[in-house]
């Protein structure tokens, strides 16, 4: 043992084990919803507060893994003292709010939003919107017969601030040919309700690729790539996250699209199996939708912490190897 002076003195042992700093109790807010008093955390939205009371608020442009854009306006509720209705999905609770979620004004607005969408957009693959339409008694037929669909590329070329004056004999729609320009997914903007979800998923909310954005103005607004180029020429990396969030089937796996075209798509014959993506170490959860022993599409549950339902091209579309091409033939040479 050396008796040299110790040139380094370790600090004294702490008298207590380090603890995380104390968290203040989350502030809470008292408000009234449909006559019921409720206390919720101060950073909740009206939508969350309604949910805590078991009130089912319709939403179309809202998704828990995306920033609210509050554009569809189906979730509006009546707030005492406010001149207009307010969107439940984005409006944060305030003390003393007095909210009605089923007043005549609320019901009328929801019904009209659904009629406006139903009379201008093909909602045949949007089960959620259909259910709401039934709930609120929407009657999209009362705007007259739908206008003939526009030709290929016509809506993409519309100029802002100019339109052909209608004669009123038909109701204008967004009907147009499907965009089929790659093997992985199709874009059927005749089914697009312009909920902005795909744009958000492609942007800072998930993918950060910015391949698509809203273009045009007013009723001629549409989702577009840069310069309206086909997807293979765009910045798209085929993560499919836009498909994952699209509420109307406007964005659809090519495999689903082809099966539907042949009349073969049948959800009652499908199973859904959750597994972990085999490609990399991130470990995203994949839900494999299987029909007739073939994977027909891949989704990912929103509530999984790992990527909140977002995937990359490999997990989303790289399933063909499972079907194995000729593997079956190899394993059973007799046929």
């Amino acid at each position: 043992m050396s008796t040299d002076t110790v040139w380094f003195r370790p600090p004294p042992r702490p008298s207590h084990t380090p603890q995380p700093p104390e968290q203040p109790e989350p502030a809470s807010v008292d408000l009234t919803i449909d006559g019921q008093a409720v206390r919720v955390p101060a950073d909740w939205t009206i939508l969350q507060a309604c949910g805590s009371l078991g009130i089912d608020t319709p939403t179309l442009c809202y998704l828990e893994n995306l920033t609210p854009v509050n554009v569809c306006r189906i979730c509006v509720v009546e707030l005492a003292g406010a001149r207009t209705l307010v969107p439940a999905c984005s409006r944060v609770v305030e003390p003393g709010m007095d909210i009605r979620t089923d007043s005549p004004r609320v019901r009328l607005s929801r019904k009209m939003v659904l009629e406006f969408l139903g009379s201008s957009v093909d909602l045949s693959t949007a089960p959620q919107a259909q259910a709401y339409a039934a709930r609120y008694g929407a009657c999209p037929e009362r705007y007259g017969q739908p206008h003939a669909p526009s030709g290929p590329g016509e809506r993409d070329a519309r100029e802002p601030g100019h339109h052909h004056a209608p004669d009123g004999s038909a109701a204008e729609t967004v009907a147009q040919p499907v965009k089929v320009d790659n093997d992985l997914y199709i874009r059927d903007y005749g089914k697009c309700i312009l909920c902005y979800k795909c744009v958000e998923a492609c942007g800072t909310d998930a993918q950060n690729t910015f391949a698509i954005a809203v273009a045009g103005r007013g009723f001629d607004a549409r989702i577009s790539t840069e310069g309206n180029v086909p997807l293979p020429d765009s910045a798209c990396v085929y993560c499919g996250n836009c498909i994952g969030v699209c509420p109307t089937g406007a964005l659809m796996f090519r495999s689903e699209f082809e099966l539907r075209k042949q009349g073969q798509w049948d959800e009652s014959r499908q199973t859904r199996t959750d597994t972990i993506c085999p490609y990399c170490g991130v470990g995203c959860t994949l839900s494999l939708h299987v029909q007739d022993n073939r994977i027909v599409k891949v989704t990912s549950p929103l509530d999984v912490e790992v990527t909140h339902g977002h995937l990359c091209i490999k997990g989303r579309f790289g399933f063909e190897f499972v079907h194995g091409g000729d593997l079956k033939a190899d394993a059973n040479p007799e046929g």
């Binding site: 705007y143 007259g144 802002p160 601030g161 009123g168």
Partner: protein
């Protein structure tokens, strides 16, 4: 940001046009030395410095549009590299504004106003003549336009010539011969300031407080402005100190003149007290409400007053930077405001240490690119920031989260021109002008079938009848059929209600609105059904398209009006009336912004009392 560029390379001319705004590229990611083509799809690390200049997107696009008459894809791609903007988003921005074109267009284009005031002064005839001499509209030599803000001189047109030295000329009243002459002469036309007297029938009246200089002094001379009392208010404001100024503005009970009538002092107070920094001042000069032209006349005739008003606002609210957002269709106002900013800066009235009083304030002018919705304050912020002009949801309000996410005071041009007056008269002195509920002088934009259309300055309290009488009444002994109060977003008033007092409280009591001060008079010869159809088309064109009630509601409203006009209602006319009510209700209740919320006001008010589309008188 991982951006992908595939577009065509810019030509040298395209690059030069962009560089004229952005300066030469300084690094590889900005399109400088490193060869992006060889590297293909690369990660461009623009960094904060580039991203934070996204607000230069619109100025760069303007430079390209006015150089070539359209926006070629190579130029868009180059701008995107320079500013680290995703090309898809830039596409979204270019296609939002009607002064930009992504398709090749003739370099000379005439925009012809076919909006309400011009329709009743022969706009359709002008369009027919142009069709005859320049070809059909779709060939692009001429184009219909919403209100060009020259309604007092209707019909109006705006001639844009792209090129190395681009020209923009407003013509009002516009004749076919004028337009064709301008196209062949190729000269720049400068109206003298005296010609503004046509727009201010009261010109020369010594009692005028807001319009006093217009048409009387040279708006391009700072000396003339100072000799007529200009900039004494700023000196007085500096003596009062920021809090003192806000006290006076609160005491003046000044209400915003942009349409929403919000108390200006309260807005200022909130911004001055907001802890976040920096603060911004925005002057809303996007004036696009059909029938409104007062802000144009103020900017063309008294630009220094606008700057002085902004400077006092900046001083009071602790803002060092102001933005003046002028609509793109106002070439002369833009020119005079630019000159005024430069002159004020040179004289130490803008910049660091204004008037040697130790505070900094400077103003930057931004041009709109053809979108009524950008007059909505939050859409205007987005537009300045280089985004699509889509309104934001409120709350949060601009006083807390405004331009670039910072506390922002946004005021209309006319509101700001009242500020020097308030400082000079004192808040209480100002509040004694007008009525208890509506203080101060007010500008009205009187147009349509009156003998002397123009901007009128009156003290609040005058009745509609008296104002119309002051404008010379309806010519040719015709009777008044209706008056549109407040513009397309306002309401129709029938002949039985002309005694309404033109104050905030008086119009509220009568169930109408002052809006931006539009008084558009229609005599008995006007087809109101045609006017309603134009209003419906206007909202359908100008909706930003963000929210369902307005995006689709404005379409359904226009279709309904056309069904009534062609005598082919779905069900009965009463069915249509109740359908319109429901369409109006959802737009009013559930739209994000004031455009959708007011889009059915005028139409519903006309149908309720004026029988604008008489049954059995099908117009087709």
């Amino acid at each position: 940001m991982d951006l992908h560029f595939h577009g065509p390379k810019p030509t040298a001319a395209e690059q030069a046009a962009v560089d004229s705004v952005l300066g030469p590229p300084t690094s590889a990611w900005a399109g400088g030395a490193r060869n992006i083509e060889d590297e293909g799809h690369i990660t461009l690390l623009g960094g904060h410095a580039a991203r934070s200049r996204r607000d230069l997107l619109l100025p760069a696009l303007h430079a390209v549009q006015s150089r070539f008459g359209w926006v070629p894809p190579g130029a868009v791609d180059y701008i995107c590299r320079r500013l680290t903007v995703p090309p898809a988003e830039a596409h979204g921005v270019v296609t939002f504004y009607h002064l930009f074109s992504l398709e090749p267009r003739p370099s000379a284009v005439v925009h012809v106003c076919d909006d309400i005031a011009c329709r009743i002064k022969g706009a359709e005839r002008l369009c027919d003549e142009l069709e005859h001499s320049l070809g059909p509209e779709r060939e692009g030599h001429w184009k219909r336009s919403p209100c060009l803000g020259c309604c007092e001189l209707a019909p109006a047109a705006l001639a844009l010539d792209a090129g190395e030295s681009p020209r923009a000329t407003a013509l009002a009243p516009a004749t076919h011969a004028d337009i064709m002459g301008l196209r062949t002469s190729g000269e720049e036309r400068h109206d003298s300031f005296e010609s503004l007297r046509r727009s201010v029938p009261q010109c020369g009246d010594p009692k005028l407080r807001l319009l006093g200089r217009i048409g009387q002094i040279d708006p391009e001379s700072l000396d003339a402005y100072r000799q007529s009392g200009g900039y004494t208010a700023l000196g007085r404001a500096i003596e009062l100190g920021p809090e003192g100024v806000i006290r006076e503005v609160l005491a003046s009970k000044l209400m915003g003149r942009g349409g929403a009538a919000f108390p200006t002092g309260r807005k200022w107070d909130a911004v001055a007290k907001a802890p976040a920094r920096p603060h911004y001042v925005v002057c809303n000069a996007d004036e696009s409400e059909p029938g409104t032209f007062k802000d144009r006349v103020l900017m063309e005739g008294d630009p220094f007053a606008v700057i002085e008003g902004m400077t006092i606002t900046g001083f009071a609210t602790g803002s060092e930077r102001g933005y003046l957002y002028v609509r793109g269709e106002y070439p002369l106002a833009t020119r005079r405001m630019r000159l005024a900013i430069e002159a004020a800066r040179a004289a130490g009235l803008l910049g660091a240490n204004v008037m040697n009083a130790g505070f900094t304030f400077d103003v930057e002018l931004r041009s709109g690119a053809g979108a009524y919705i950008c007059g909505e304050e939050t859409a205007l912020f987005n537009s300045i920031e280089g985004k699509r002009g889509e309104p934001r949801n409120k709350p949060p309000f601009p006083v807390h989260v405004g331009l670039f996410g910072k506390p922002t005071v946004v005021n209309n041009v006319e509101t700001l021109v009242n500020i020097p007056l308030i400082v000079s008269l004192g808040g209480e002195g100002y509040a004694r002008v007008g009525t208890p509920g509506s203080s101060g002088p007010k500008l009205f934009c009187v147009s349509g079938n009156v003998a002397r259309p123009g901007v009128y300055e009156v003290d609040f309290g005058i009745s509609l009848t008296d104002l119309i009488a002051q404008a010379g009444g309806v010519p040719d002994g015709k009777a008044i059929r209706a008056v549109l109060l407040g513009g397309a977003a306002g309401m129709f008033v029938g002949p039985d209600k002309l005694d309404v007092s033109l104050t905030f409280e008086g119009t509220r009591a009568a169930g109408v609105t002052l809006g931006s001060g539009v008084v558009l008079v229609f005599d008995e010869s006007v087809d109101l059904g045609d006017v309603l159809a134009r209003i419906a088309a206007f909202f359908r064109d100008e909706s930003c398209g963000q929210c369902v009630p307005c995006r689709v509601g404005t379409v359904r409203q226009e279709e309904l009006i056309q069904r009534l006009r062609s005598g082919q209602p779905i069900g009965s006319r009463d069915d249509e009336a109740s359908l319109l009510k429901e369409i109006g209700q959802v737009m009013r209740d559930a739209s994000i912004c004031g455009l959708g919320q007011t889009a059915s006001n005028a139409i519903e008010s006309a149908l309720a009392t004026l029988d604008p589309i008489p049954e059995g008188k099908s117009s087709r």
